[in-house]
Amino acid sequence: MSLYDNIDKIRLDALKELGNIGAGNAATSISMMLDKKVDINVPDVTVVPMSDLWKKFINPEEITAGAMIGVEGELSGAILFLVGAEDIKKLLEMMMLPRPEDLTQLDEITTSAIGELGNIMCSSYIVSLSSFTGFNIHSMPPNVVVDMVAAVVAEVSLINSEGEDYILLIETDMKVENYGKNILGYISYIPDEKSLKQLLGKLGLGIDND
């Protein structure tokens, strides 16, 4: 019996609340940086078999840009921040940076700007996760990526699944208000199995298997 078979509604709700706290803080930090209103949706927590990951996307080949930030310390896993190709350009413009002509040929400044954006968002996520759970965790330097959305999510899941058949995603959609035209972003915490066990234990919802 795998841990993932035991994630019932009450555990999903608890993890959603974690996502809410993390993404809420991430949204606040980006909102302060851009001086814009940022909204977040209710987080979505899903347990997905690795083989069905591709079914999650309406357009799996959509080009997105973002950053993966590894989580280390008492919890591990990664936080993934993604924005569509057009929207990331608008975000960079808001940060007073030149608009990149071609995202697939990133220069150093743009790469580091996307990395920094991911860093700010994901670090606030991690800090709030840490203060809520009491776990001592910290973030790793960002890995910037521009690629097809399904592949990015699959690859990050793969890195953190350690060969497991299932992955749990705590996903939150967010939008930055920009003169009526919203910029849509996505932030997801992808814990590995061990961290998931620890998180649930800390929340008083531990699962005893094996």
Binding site: W54, E61, D147, A150, A151, E155, L158, I159, G163
Partner: protein
């Protein structure tokens, strides 16, 4: 045309006319094998080089057990070992040299190549390594492997090998 999509760690063997699709190959490798005389072929979406666990819950995840299963399926449907050819795609390092990924892509490619070599199946074309993800479509009738990946100009590039 019949199309079947397989996910990470899944495998299939079929007879033409059939197109086998898999999406988002990052460090994973898509191994396509086909009997070129009888147009019977298969694909496996390999995630890791070796199956170390004794309980085979998802044998398609691993290069060794996955390729074995595709071959079994092809032979069962009347394919012959001596007619087999292979095409492989994937094995990219999407996050550069991030310590977390530990270059699984490279290890997957090495494992797939050595297994195919030990079975005397020739790799007639490949589209591997690099840092971009790929989606592939394998046409069992013609043996063409269509690869989509993000190229320059923010467009999805299509190659046929």
């Amino acid at each position: 045309m019949n199309k079947k999509i397989i996910g990470i760690g899944e495998y299939i063997s079929e007879k033409a006319p059939m197109i086998i699709v898999t999406l988002g190959l990052g460090s994973c490798v898509g191994v396509c094998i086909r009997d070129k005389a009888k147009n019977i072929g298969g694909m496996v979406h390999v995630m890791l080089p070796q199956n170390n666990s004794k309980e085979n819950i998802k044998p398609g995840k691993y290069a060794d057990t996955g390729i074995e299963l595709v071959l079994e399926g092809i032979l069962k449907q009347g394919g012959e070992m001596r007619n087999l050819e292979a095409k492989i795609a994937g094995g990219a390092a999407m996050f550069g040299n991030s310590s977390k990924s530990m270059d699984i892509g490279k290890r997957n490619i090495e494992a797939v190549k050595s297994i195919l070599k030990s079975k005397n199946i020739k790799i007639i074309s490949e589209e591997i390594a690099g840092n971009r993800a790929r989606s592939i479509e394998y046409d069992l009738q013609s043996g063409n492997l269509q690869i989509k990946k993000v190229g320059g100009g923010e467009k999805v590039e299509i190659l046929i090998i």
